[in-house]
Amino acid sequence: MIAAVMPWLLVFLMLNLAAGLWRAWQGPTDGDRLLSALLFGTTSIALLLMIAEWLALPTLRSVALLLVMFASILSLAFFGMPEHGDD
Amino acid sequence: MTAELYVFAAAAVFGIGVHGLLIARHLMRKLLAVNLMLSAVFLLLLLFSTPIGGKPDPIPQALVLTGIVIAVSSTAFALALMVRLFRLSGRATLPRFEPDDD
């Protein structure tokens, strides 16, 4: 029963992802862009965990663990970003 | 059916990468485009592998794994070169020949 529903939940989350991308594309400030990258990270982690369950590949949980550990690296790298002109 | 879909994806990403390489002036954009092309080729290489007894063929996986590591190290070297070029020439774009040099 779960295996039948899982693909559609994955599709739903991916549509979520695409919607978040619109904010990244349109977001006025860089903070918004990074916020959508953060959303992208969290949703990817959820997706990977669900794919791990769906395809019975337990290693994908370790992949999700790696993603969650390094999600904050991007914001740290971004934090030091001095103001820069938008070309 | 899914393999054909991912071949189409690899082809599209490769084409976009070439397009990016051609239209980008900024060196970092060219680098991003090249990385896109690399990912497309890795995806293609893996799609060619024939599963053996249910398990995916290990040879293409090893090749692509090696490729991913080399891609990131060459990208890092290219970035270092770009930063040095920027320090010396004050521009992160290659010298151009068209007259309208902005």
Binding site: L15, L57, I73, D87 | T2, G15, I23, L46, F77, A92
Partner: protein, 313 residues
């Protein structure tokens, strides 16, 4: 079945959408953020295609390293000259470039579809590797291929990694004015994050190393995880780039290559076969050495410095 197709269709369309945004993004910073997202989707696609080894490597390198590398370089450009750093937008795309990229895409599509037809082929190399897997004492065929059957490739790969580092270090400016340390570790949140993630990265790296023999994982993924921990330390300023490398750093750079090459050549002296390291313990030792080398090399590549010195806070 339809559900699977829907998942694949969405994965592919997001991937292509991201690639397009990376290339057409007007703002360079936005292109970098989209590129990191592209890496995440690639990791998901590797998972979907059932190759967890590659998903691990893509996640560790894509999420941990590439984004930080690009942003680090971008920050150095902005520090030197903010206005000029992002100048040189997109060349008006003449029809020629569109035509060329379409042709390139078409070529890859044709090659791909042709390749798919050949898939039914024998795949001897893969079958040979899988059949003689039991001789190696390793369970994970990818690790066996990387270390034993095609060990020579791995030696050259380690040399390429070393070459990239030497090149980057030589080219990088000596002045450490633009150190990568920004969010100093004294910030309340960042200190806590670092205390949890860096030790965990070490544990996960060791786990991936040990598991690499039988399950997905191995020296490359473990090294990439170590490097991501190194990037985190550099970003938070706990570790400061040095112009001069200490002896330990220099040795750890070549440690992996030495062990791998040595283990391949030494048996020759005793009449063995090239690249046939003895037992499983030797394989673990080599993988550990390679993990250290890859981790140190990639971390130093991020800070584009000769060495790193810990800061006593």
């Amino acid at each position: 079945m339809i559900g699977t197709l829907a998942v694949d269709l969405l994965l592919v369309s997001i991937l292509i959408g991201l690639a397009w945004q990376v290339v057409r993004g007007r703002v360079l910073f936005r292109a970098i953020v989209f590129f990191v997202a592209f890496g995440l989707i690639m990791a998901m696609i590797w998972g979907r295609l059932g190759v967890p080894d590659l998903a691990l490597a893509e996640a560790a390198i894509g999420a941990g390293l590439t984004g930080a590398l690009m942003l680090g370089a971008f920050r150095r450009l902005v520090e030197i000259d903010a206005r000029q750093a992002v100048s040189g937008g997109l060349r008006p795309s003449p029809r020629l470039s569109l035509l060329l990229s379409l042709l390139a895409g078409l070529l890859v599509a044709v090659l791909g579809l042709a390749g798919l037809e050949l898939r039914g082929g024998s795949g001897e190399a893969g079958r040979a590797a899988l059949d003689s897997l039991h001789l190696t004492g390793l369970g994970n065929p990818v690790s066996a291929v990387l270390l034993l059957f095609r060990g020579l490739d791995t030696v050259f790969e380690m040399l390429v990694l070393l070459g990239a580092f030497l090149g980057a270090r030589h080219v990088a400016e000596r002045d450490r004015r633009s150190g990568a340390a920004i969010a100093s570790h004294r910030l309340p949140m960042v200190g806590a994050l670092q205390m949890t993630v860096v030790p965990l990265a070490l544990v996960v790296a060791l786990h991936l190393l040990r598991a690499g023999a039988n399950d997905p994982g191995g020296a490359f993924q473990a090294g990439a995880v170590l490097a991501a921990g190194g990037v985190l330390l550099t970003l938070t300023g706990r570790v400061v780039p040095q112009a001069q490398a200490g002896l330990l750093t220099r040795f750890s750079l070549i440690f992996g290559t030495l062990m791998l090459a040595g283990s391949g050549i030494v048996p020759l002296i005793y009449g063995g076969v090239l690249m046939a390291p003895p037992g499983k313990t030797a394989i673990y030792a080599i993988e550990a050495a390679m993990m250290v080398s890859i981790g140190v090399t990639l971390s130093l590549l991020f800070s584009a410095s000769a060495g790193l010195r810990a800061v006593r806070s």
